[in-house]
Symmetry: C2
Subunit: 153 residues, 2 copies
């Protein structure tokens, strides 16, 4: 990470953006193939990737697992509002729920918004019970996903 620049100063040119798009489509694309796609040599593309990694723009490369293929056929979005004095306990507890894959703490009436993957609707109640002494909850079930997580570049 370069500390001599504010993060927001980082500028991507067209080639950087194209490389990122290609790597968003398939992060295991060989550098040599990326190089062909942008009409550059492999070493130069390699250097660009290193710079993007060191500047923090590229935070990593991750395998994308399909929860449905593993039998997680339900997504629940749970909004939580911690009970008085229970904030730390709640944050500790939600970290112990493996089905809970993401949680944001937000402004407004709902204090936390979490995303859970479930194999069966019957798994929901025991999970909510495990935090019922720590927070009031409001659960929605995802019916469809009109916009799937997409690239911001």
């Amino acid at each position: 990470m370069r500390n001599d620049l504010r993060k927001s100063d980082i500028h991507l040119d067209g080639i950087d953006k194209r490389l990122i798009e290609l790597l968003y489509d398939n992060a295991r694309t060989p550098v040599s193939e990326l190089a062909r796609s942008v009409s550059m040599t492999a070493p130069s593309v390699n250097e660009r990737l290193k710079r993007l990694e060191e500047s923090g723009v590229i935070a990593g490369y991750r395998v994308d697992i399909d929860p449905l293929a593993l039998g997680y056929s339900l997504i629940a979005i749970v909004r939580m509002r911690q009970l008085p004095g229970k904030m730390h306990e709640l944050e500790a507890q939600i970290n112990l729920i493996p089905e809970l894959v993401e949680c944001d703490k937000v402004t407004g009436d709902d204090c936390y918004i979490a995303r859970l993957y479930l194999k069966n609707i019957s798994e929901l109640d025991p999970i909510l019970d495990s935090i019922s002494d720590l927070a009031d909850t409001n659960t929605s079930i995802v019916k469809s996903t009109p916009v799937k997580r997409r690239l911001l570049v």
Copy 2:
């Protein structure tokens, strides 16, 4: 995708899980290195990956971009409830908002829950205005993320 199995029938053994963990940490890890980590040969690891890809468990490999490094310093979660007869128009409109990187349609009072990345809070109002004829909205700003998107395996 194998169509002779229900998706939920797919079973991962310990080696599959370890490979997925390694690829979640770094999806560009060479097969040969994965092979060393699980004490197998490269061709067998290659075959396992092919099977995981063909069965749909591995949906892909994606570069992970840090929005903050690009100057997107704010995350907003917008809950929307479409106005009567405006559902299709709303879904079309949200697809046109580049800052909106994800949207789920859910059961309950809120019909849609979307995630937006913003460089500046002043960008929020024009975006909300662009859908104000289509939906009532309720916006929360993310203060922190107690659970960052994590692997479900």
